[in-house]
């Protein structure tokens, strides 16, 4: 730091600093940053983090592919259908309509990129090499759009055939027209079979290679200039005979966007079919299933963190990609901030790590709140051992880790079972989505909540067929769980199903009996009817039929499962190793309100500057506050326009109140020039921040730009 580099100038706004040393310091190992000086396992943690990160990445891609499979397949079908349709010249002559697929993708624009990428690959692999995707940003005018189209198509054609390169490069510069494209298409499609031998397998009729369609994907349809689109479509429709165009519109809003952008005369040239992609909430649900409700994935999120991430998803962007980003960031923070996260990996590895814990880490374990709670529950002798012997802690640690893994293995199947039972209930007392149930389970004792009580009450009046169906679903879930205990539970559930089904005869008899009574009493008066009904009611409460007995047993059983397995995660010893819980940090990094922060800094400087003199009552303007804060508070009292002179006067008044000066000497515009200068500086800062702007409506006035605020 011998000399500070100069980065301010009145003639330049951009300063470049090349690395001083000749051999550039190559990328510092990132693991290096995770080592906080004293610790030695930073690189281990980084390795685990990276591995988990790769799992996340892989899983999200797999999920995306699975979810999109249906809609992509139907798109490919659609294109193939029109592809075949082209083969008969009659079809082409009859109509100049361009087949168009309107792909509804939802408002979560950042997620679309992945969908389009896989769509491109899929089309190129199975249908046609001529796939072009365009972005609204690149196409301000038709000229650019066509240029992009030619570049992408011809560039591709050229890359397989090098002789032609010069020729097409020339073409690009001289004439960017669709007719040039037609020429190119003719030559390419003639020799297409030789060009890509791979495609031979895909194309059944090699003798008709000219049918390969040219697919144009408009990634963000709404962002396109409608005039550009109209012109482009009109031009293309002229060439449908020679060039079999197929359009795909990526639409974020609704199909009516097409009508808004294209007049009838243009949209009638298109033959539009709508494809609906899966909703983002479903996408999120499967990501949740794969990455959060999965015992194989050792890294866990606390309830608060999940709430923050889901909140961002639901109230801000609907973007699964951002959700995954949040998850990755939590992982990074966890492995960076928690040295014990070295234990947050697969069971075998974790046990090995526990054996070789450093002394520092053992000490850290002793300080974990959950471990301290555990120690308190032990015998006094054991407590002493745990506090003195490092080796003993390591042993216990292994045991606890095993328990933690076991807890997770049992937890997830039971949560899923409970969800499948309660998701049938009206009004979803425990939440519509499994994530809500999961959040309340790991947050607190579920069985102590009102929602749980009402859910159980509703379960107690479930009809038999519904109950059986739900239990069968549970059995299905439990079958995939591997632990012994879950197998046990499965046995019991199957047992219940068997017994419920065996009841068949008994219940049906009972119900017909009721029917008969009602039938007989039909003609009696109202009083009589009421009496019989009351009798029936009392009889029912007294004597439960066999189904009801069995049903309450089932409910009891479920309740016992919940109490046993769905204990809050925080109570598990060593849960801090796996659970990331700093929801505050997460919110500060991902979902912030810069304006609030600026306004707080202006109106309550004490919040940031801990100086006693800055403590003020609400509503007063303290002269002790920084200049900018005073000017800000004064401006809040003004209307649409602010008179600079009056503002300055008020400012000086506030300033001199502290100095106890004689106000009279300040009359007639003789202000202290230092105060004047400070005022000027503060007002320019206000302008810079965007609170006021200069206006010409009245001399020496500025316009106020914000309303409300404290």
């Amino acid at each position: 730091m011998s000399e500070t580099p100069v980065t301010s100038s009145v003639s330049k706004g951009c300063f470049v600093f090349k690395s001083t040393s000749k051999k550039r310091k190559r990328h510092v190992g990132v693991g290096g940053y995770l080592v906080d000086g004293s610790d030695d396992n930073g690189s281990d943690r980084f390795r685990i983090c990276q591995k988990l990160w790769e799992t996340v990445q892989m899983n999200t891609e797999v999920i995306q592919d699975q979810l999109n499979k249906h809609v992509l397949d139907s798109l490919v079908e659609f294109i193939k259908k029109h592809d075949l349709g082209n083969s008969s010249d009659v079809w082409r002559q009859r109509t100049s309509e361009i087949p168009t697929a309107a792909l509804m993708l939802g408002v979560n624009v950042p997620d679309h990129a992945m969908t389009f990428r896989s769509l491109c690959h899929l089309l190129q692999d199975s249908v046609t090499p001529f796939v072009v995707s365009v972005h609204a940003k690149e196409c301000v005018a038709v000229k650019h759009l066509i240029q992009k189209l030619l570049e992408q198509l011809m560039g591709k054609g050229v890359s397989v055939d090098e002789e032609q390169e010069d020729e097409t490069a020339l073409l690009q510069r001289t004439q960017c027209t669709i007719s040039a494209l037609c020429q190119w298409y003719k030559t390419v499609s003639k020799k297409c079979p030789q060009v890509s031998p791979q495609r031979k397998e895909n194309v059944k009729n090699n003798d008709l290679p000219q049918n390969l369609p040219v697919v144009v994907i408009f990634k963000d349809f709404e962002a396109f200039n409608s005039q550009v689109l109209q012109d482009f479509i009109l031009i293309c429709s002229r060439y449908t005979q020679e060039l079999p165009f197929i359009f795909i519109f990526g639409i974020a809003t609704s199909p009516s966007a097409i009508q808004h952008r294209l007049p009838h005369s243009v949209s009638s040239l298109l033959c539009i079919e709508v494809f609906q992609s899966l909703s983002c909430t479903q996408h999120l649900a499967s990501v949740f299933d794969k990455l959060i409700l999965n015992s194989q994935f050792p890294f866990k999120l606390s309830s608060r963190v999940i709430q923050v991430l889901v909140g961002i998803f639901l109230y801000h962007d609907f973007s699964v990609q951002n959700f995954v980003k949040g998850l990755k960031f939590s992982m990074l923070e966890h492995f960076n901030g928690q040295p014990l996260s070295v234990l947050c990996c697969q069971k075998k590895e974790a046990l090995l790590c526990a054996k070789t814990l450093s002394q520092k880490n053992v000490e850290r374990i002793r300080h974990l709140p959950s471990f301290m709670r555990y120690v308190e529950t032990q015998e006094p002798q054991e407590q002493v051992q745990l506090l003195t012997s490092d080796e003993h802690v390591k042993d216990v640690c292994q045991k606890l880790l095993k328990n933690l893994h076991k807890y997770h293995k049992n937890y997830y199947p039971i949560v899923q079972c409970l969800h499948s039972l309660t998701s049938l209930l009206p009004k979803f007392p425990l939440g519509k989505h499994i994530r809500e149930l999961h959040v309340s389970c790991i947050e607190k004792n579920l069985w102590e909540t009102e929602e749980y009580d009402s859910a159980m009450q509703l379960l107690r009046i479930l009809a038999k067929d519904e109950l059986v169906a739900a239990l069968e679903k549970c059995a299905e879930i439990l079958k995939s769980a591997k632990t012994k205990r879950m197998q046990n539970v499965l046995q019991q559930v199957e047992d219940f199903i068997g017994r419920l089904e065996a009841l068949e005869g008994v219940t049906s008899e009972d119900s017909t009996g009721d029917g008969v009574i009602l039938e007989k009493n039909r003609r009696t008066d109202l009083f009589q009817l009421q009496k019989t009904l009351l009798e029936k009611e009392s009889r029912r409460t007294k004597r439960m039929n066999p189904y009801e007995v069995l049903r309450s047993q089932v409910i009891e059983f479920i309740d016992s499962l919940v109490r046993e397995y769905l204990t809050p995660a925080e109570l598990q010893p060593l849960s801090e190793v796996c659970y990331y819980s700093s929801s505050g940090i997460l919110r500060q990094r991902l979902n912030v309100t810069p304006r609030t922060s600026i306004q707080t800094a202006l109106s309550h400087p004490f919040h940031y500057l801990q100086n006693e003199s800055l403590k003020t009552n609400a509503g007063t303007i303290s002269s002790a506050a920084p200049d900018l804060c005073i000017v800000y508070k004064l401006h809040l009292e003004c209307g649409r326009l602010i008179n600079l002179y009056d503002w300055l006067e008020a400012f000086v008044t506030v300033m001199s109140a502290a100095e106890d000066q004689d106000a009279d000497s300040e009359e007639n515009g003789k202000f202290d020039s230092l105060k004047h200068a400070r005022f000027i500086q503060a007002v320019s800062e206000m302008e810079f921040l965007g609170f006021v702007k200069s206006t010409k409506q009245k001399t020496d006035h500025v316009a106020r730009l914000t309303w409300g605020g404290c």
């Binding site: 020039s673 500086q681 965007g690």
Partner: protein, 370 residues
């Protein structure tokens, strides 16, 4: 929320503005010039220096974390810092303490004539040492992307003071910056200050943008600096609150503040200089326009002198003999930015001198003496 809405409508309910008519002319020293201002401010001892220093020291502790989060190229995070107070010094400290061994580019977004081209050029020419020009910024961004992709060990840090600066607010500029930020070995560290900077909406933002600073419409629909969802995902921001309470001294130094007599002095001297080099007739023409403008200074509806009227007046004073002569002369004035023309609603051209009345009076007085 309710308060906010009510306050807004209360303020905008009637077009009449209830403020006093006092102007800064009443002040003993109506306008300070820049030198005096800077001298006065430098004499001013900052208050709460100790607390501010502590606050800043707290932010500096995050440096390592920033570095780590940016360098994890698999995650591709970039960092944006916000909060009250100038963050330039903080970023400068970051550069000098951690980036001395890395290639980095510092951009001052508040600089009034910063352009995307300048930023891209310094990356391609100075960092990547590429000689040659590019057809358009898109190509240049592509070139940077390809070069960096080929050499993944080459990390470039881009430090942008005020990425919301007036010249960087444009949609295209932000898009290009986003493309750069999305590169795995380009790391962006930026600061924002404007209160509307991160708005994700497209329209109906109270307009305070650079290009319509002069428009009377307080809430016009022109595009503000906006990071829409697509851009947000390119930037992949991690936010850090860094309230520094440091004065925006450098950031505001470029602005033509209402209260600083910088523009007036400059305009006056340039007026005299240009006028001196003109023929007496041309000077007369300009004088005529200036006088007419001063006659009408109390008329708020004054839009300028129409060309026909002007021609008539010039003829009467024997200054020109044909309207072509006048037009040539006006073109020269316009080239020197002495006058501005405006098309009125009736399609007639109106001529204005874009200088405030005080300066114009000064000018005429001075001219009389000469």
């Amino acid at each position: 929320m309710c308060d906010l809405v009510e306050e807004y409508f209360e303020a905008h309910s009637n077009s009449k503005v209830l403020t006093s008519d006092r102007t800064l002319q009443k002040l003993h020293t109506p306008q300070l010039d820049r030198e005096t201002l800077l001298r006065l401010l430098s004499e001013n001892t900052p208050r709460y220096a100790e607390e501010i220093h502590q606050l800043n020291a707290k932010h500096e502790k995050n440096f390592d974390q920033w570095m780590m989060q940016m360098q994890l190229s698999v995650m591709g995070f970039n960092i944006v810092i916000y909060g009250l107070g100038s963050k330039k010094i903080l970023l400068q400290k970051f550069c000098s303490s951690l980036l001395s061994d890395c290639d980095h580019v510092v951009v001052n977004g508040f600089f009034p004539s910063i352009t995307l081209k300048a930023i891209l050029n310094s990356i391609t020419a100075d960092v990547l040492q590429h000689e040659g020009s590019f057809r358009n910024p898109g190509d240049q961004v592509d070139f940077i992307a390809n070069t960096l992709r080929e050499d993944p060990s080459n990390h470039v840090f881009l430090i942008v003071n005020n990425i919301d600066g007036p010249m960087l607010r444009g949609d295209r500029t932000q898009h290009a910056l986003g493309q750069l930020a999305a590169l795995p070995n380009m790391h962006l560290l930026a600061s924002i200050d404007h209160i509307n900077a991160p708005l994700k909406l497209r329209k109906n933002v109270t307009c305070n943008c650079y290009k319509c600073q002069n428009c009377k419409n307080v809430s016009c629909n022109c595009e503000e600096i906006i990071w829409d969802q697509a851009k947000m995902s390119m930037f992949n921001w991690l936010w850090y609150e860094t309230t520094t309470y440091l004065p925006y001294a450098e950031e505001t130094s470029y602005e033509n503040s209402l209260l600083v007599r910088q523009t007036g002095a400059l305009a006056l001297s340039s007026l005299t200089h240009v006028l001196r080099s003109l023929t007496p007739n041309a000077r007369g023409i300009f004088r005529l326009l200036a006088e007419f403008q001063l006659e009408n200074k109390d008329n708020p509806a004054y839009t300028g002198l129409s060309f026909q009227d002007f021609y008539q007046r010039c003829r009467e004073s024997f200054l020109v003999n044909s309207d072509i002569t006048l037009r040539t002369q006006l073109t020269e004035f316009r080239d020197h930015k002495l006058i501005r023309t405006k098309k009125g609603t009736d399609g007639v051209e109106y001529l204005l001198i874009p200088v405030d009345n005080g300066t114009l009076t000064d000018f005429l007085e001075k001219n009389d003496v000469e």
